[in-house]
Structure formats: C-alpha cells, structure tokens
Symmetry: C2
Subunit: 253 residues, 2 copies
Amino acid sequence: MRTINIANQKGGVGKTTTVINLAWGLALWEKRVLVVDFDPQGNTTTGLGISKRGLYNNVYTVLSGRVPIREAIMSVTNNEYLSCLPANEDLSAFPLEAAGEKDRLFILDGALKAVRAEYDFIIIDSPPSLNLITLNAMTASSDILIPVQSEFYALEGLSQLLRTKERIEEAIAKKINILGFLITMYDSRTTMARQVEEELKKHFAGKVLRTIIPRNVRIAEAPGFGESVLTYDPSSRGAFAYKELVKELLERI
Amino acid sequence: MRTINIANQKGGVGKTTTVINLAWGLALWEKRVLVVDFDPQGNTTTGLGISKRGLYNNVYTVLSGRVPIREAIMSVTNNEYLSCLPANEDLSAFPLEAAGEKDRLFILDGALKAVRAEYDFIIIDSPPSLNLITLNAMTASSDILIPVQSEFYALEGLSQLLRTKERIEEAIAKKINILGFLITMYDSRTTMARQVEEELKKHFAGKVLRTIIPRNVRIAEAPGFGESVLTYDPSSRGAFAYKELVKELLERI
Ligand SMILES: Nc1ncnc2c1ncn2[C@@H]1O[C@H](COP(=O)(O)OP(=O)(O)OP(=O)(O)O)[C@@H](O)[C@H]1O
Ligand SMILES: Nc1ncnc2c1ncn2[C@@H]1O[C@H](COP(=O)(O)OP(=O)(O)OP(=O)(O)O)[C@@H](O)[C@H]1O
Ligand SMILES: [Mg+2]
Ligand SMILES: [Mg+2]
C-alpha cells in the first residue's frame, strides 16, 4: 500500500495530468487505486469525468466531519479498479479553517486511515502552492513524485519544495520517499528542454525518472472526454510514455 | 496612471509571460512602467534578468516595513522606462503574517502610494492561488487582465476568480475594471483551442481581447536570456502577438 503525492508549487507542470494517467495506468494493471483530488480547482475530478455541480460529498465535507469518507468516494466509470475522492472550490476554505487546529498537518492522513487497507495505491493531486493543503497531502503520503516541465522557470522552485518536504518530515517524524522527478511536456526539438534535463540530472542524479513525457496534444485532449490518454488514444506517444511510467514505478516500488 | 493585475489561479496559463512582455511592450512605447512581482516563485524577477540570490530589498521586506520602497525598486537592464519591484520566496510568509491585520487587504496598495505618480503603468504578477497575496494584488489595481490558456481545464476556475473579484470590490468599495480575457498558447491546428475560444466568447462576449497569443517556442525561450520575446526575437509570431496586445490595450485604456 503506497500513497503517492504528485506535487510542485509551479503551476501548469502536469500534476493533474500525471495523477489521472498514472492512476488509470495502475488500474489497467489491476491495482486498486484511490485518487484524492486535493486541489480546490477540482481538475482531477473533472478530468475523471465526474461533474462538480451540486457535489455535496467531497474531500472538504469529509475533512470537516460532515460526511463519512465512504459516502464521498465515487467509482470512475468503465474502470472497477479506480475510485475518486472528488473536490470542488469549497476546499479553498480549508487552509484558513484548519490553521488553528493542533493536529492541522494530519487532517487528511487521519481521514484516509479508515480506507487505506482497501487500496494498493492512493494518488493525491495538490494545488500549485505550499499552503496547508499541500502540507496535508505530503503528511498523508509515503512517496512524492515531482513533475518538472522542461522549460525555463521549471527548476526555480524545486529547492523550496524540497526544503518544505524536509520541514514536514521533521514536524511529523517520518520520512517521505522521493519517488522521482518526472520530466513533462518535453519537446526534443528545443535546446531549452535538453538544458532543463541536463540541469535536473546534474542536481538530482539518480532521482530523475528514466521515463520522459513528451509534449503531445492527445494528452491535453483526453480530459475533455473524461478519459485518460491511455484509453482516449492508446497508440499515441503520450499513452506510450505514461504506460512506461507505470512500468518504471512498479519496478521502483 | 493604471495599475493592471494579471491574475488567474489556474497554474501555468501565461501570467508571468504576459506581465513581462506587456511591460516591455509598453516601455518600448516609452511609457514609464513599474512591474511588481507579487509571486513568491519570483519568476517575473528572474525573467527580467534580476538575480534573486541575496536579494534583501524586495516586495516582502518593503511590505513588512523594513525597507523603503524606492530602495527596493530596481531598473531593468537596457530599458530606462522599465523598473521592477522584485520578489523571492520570503513572500510566502506574507499571507500568514498579514492575516490578523485590520487593513490586510490594503497592504500592497498602501506601499505603492508613495511611487504611483512616477509611472504611467504598474503591472502586478500574481501567484496561482486566491490567497491574501492575490487579494492584495486585486485591491491595489484599477484593472485586471485574465490570461486563459486555450486548453480543456482553462474555463473551470474563471467563475470562482470573478466571484472573488466581486467580493473584493464589496470589501474595498471600489470597482476593478476587467481589461479583458487574453487567450494564450493558442494552437489553431487543434479543435480544443477553437472550442475554448468559442466557449469564452459565449460567456464573456465583448470582454475577450481581439489579440490571441499563439503557442510559440520563442516566447518560452526568451526568459532564459532575461529578455522579453519583443527583444529576443522581434520577428517571431510571439513578438508580433504581444505587440498587437500593447496596441489593443492602449486603445482600450
Ligand atoms: N505532456 C503533455 N503534453 C501536452 N499537454 C499537456 C501535457 N501534460 C499536461 N498538458 C496540458 O497542460 C495543461 C497543464 O497541465 P495540468 O493541468 O495537468 O498541470 P497542473 O500542474 O496540474 O496545473 P495546476 O498547477 O493548475 O494544478 C493542461 O491543459 C494539460 O492538458
Ligand atoms: N504563448 C506561449 N507559447 C509557448 N510557451 C509559453 C507561452 N506562454 C507561456 N509559455 C511558457 O509556458 C510556461 C508557463 O507560463 P508562465 O510561467 O508565464 O505561466 P504562469 O501563469 O505565470 O504560471 P504560474 O501559475 O506558475 O505563475 C512557461 O514555461 C512559459 O515560458
Ligand atoms: Mg492541477
Ligand atoms: Mg507566474
């Protein structure tokens, strides 16, 4: 049973895309997967084909104690191995409301305890920030996977992200394993992408995943149909790359 | 004198890119421009060629009263019309520290009062969130420009962003003008881009800017050299589009 947090405070690097495609990939390998959408934007929820309209049972009402977690978890259509604890914008109230609680770092971790045994993997999406939402996601996780867009600004925030992880580890007296850095939106025709790859490997040798996700429009089109690229266009370069990622992670875990 | 906040809580939609290229464009038209980097990631600071290492004078030390604003404003190389109030990750402490202050919405607005008269435009970059940093950026602004990436998740957060703006307007008893929605990273070969454009025009007719920014690798390469695409590759499609944007905004203002 592993809980993987997909995190990076830089926006638009492929966090949600990686959550959805990794979760679908593991489910196609018949692993029981729970996806937790822990971003008030609720993009993972929509990308899995779940409507956010009138969604009273969600991760925020679960954490505020109003709804039992089992009543909020929804199965994702066409895949019996894949479930989702959805989110909507109500979640943006969480950082302020939880700030005064003594165990404010452990709120998500505590809520997940009741169901952890029923899954092989729990995958948590985070928002593009380092607030109490992201800190809860890290605390609830055994591993962290960090998508890095292969463009100029990509490397800037990584040291702050890793320092935040270290501060969490001290606060909760537990180690969070860096599963790896995943290079995303890679366009091999540009020197910029190759430069980011070289820099990343120089700073984090051994932790940069072998699999590289190419920029591929089929990846961006898939969520419009509530699907993963693996089912939307199984023969695309994007699907091939995410299948490779699943294989690589199953080797490492 | 107009203060324009470039905002959208969705990550990676081209906020920083628009701040830098719009500011450079206005400066090339000999407008006096101050860029305020109000994002702890500090991407605008780096993209303007300013090093964040050891940068004690920055927007955070100004707002906490330790440094007078004039001592933190830096001129951008090669352009006498363009200055920047830089940021680094210290700024991420601001939301928590300011939360208890009575006038917590007006902190940035108050700090800018001393220098407003010296500029024709102030352009404020915001982080991908709706926290006290973004609320301060809105409060300090006369106008808001909203970049919208032409991809599936782009439309999801817009209603929350506009509701947040309305709540701010009530709290500060002042109207913030929507300068427009700017379509970014547009790839005319994909139906996805055309669909987003149609949806946007259906919901916000009249407020969608005529200028559309195409996906263009020269735009992504320019910050690596501390330059705007306007000076890095003036003949590129990206430079042409941002020049058109400057013209269109000068017509509207
Ligand atoms: N490899 C890829 N090729 C092409 N497009 C991609 C790829 N990965 C992600 N995208 C697209 O890029 C955009 C940003 O990706 P995504 O929303 O997954 O990033 P994110 O890190 O979750 O963003 P946020 O910081 O807002 O949560 C989306 O429109 C997505 O469809
Ligand atoms: N029109 C474009 N064509 C190609 N690449 C672009 C374009 N606009 C922005 N980019 C690139 O896309 C990435 C995201 O853009 P940018 O950092 O400006 O977005 P942002 O909204 O400021 O992100 P954040 O939410 O993290 O603050 C950057 O690598 C940038 O260089
Ligand atoms: Mg996301
Ligand atoms: Mg930015």
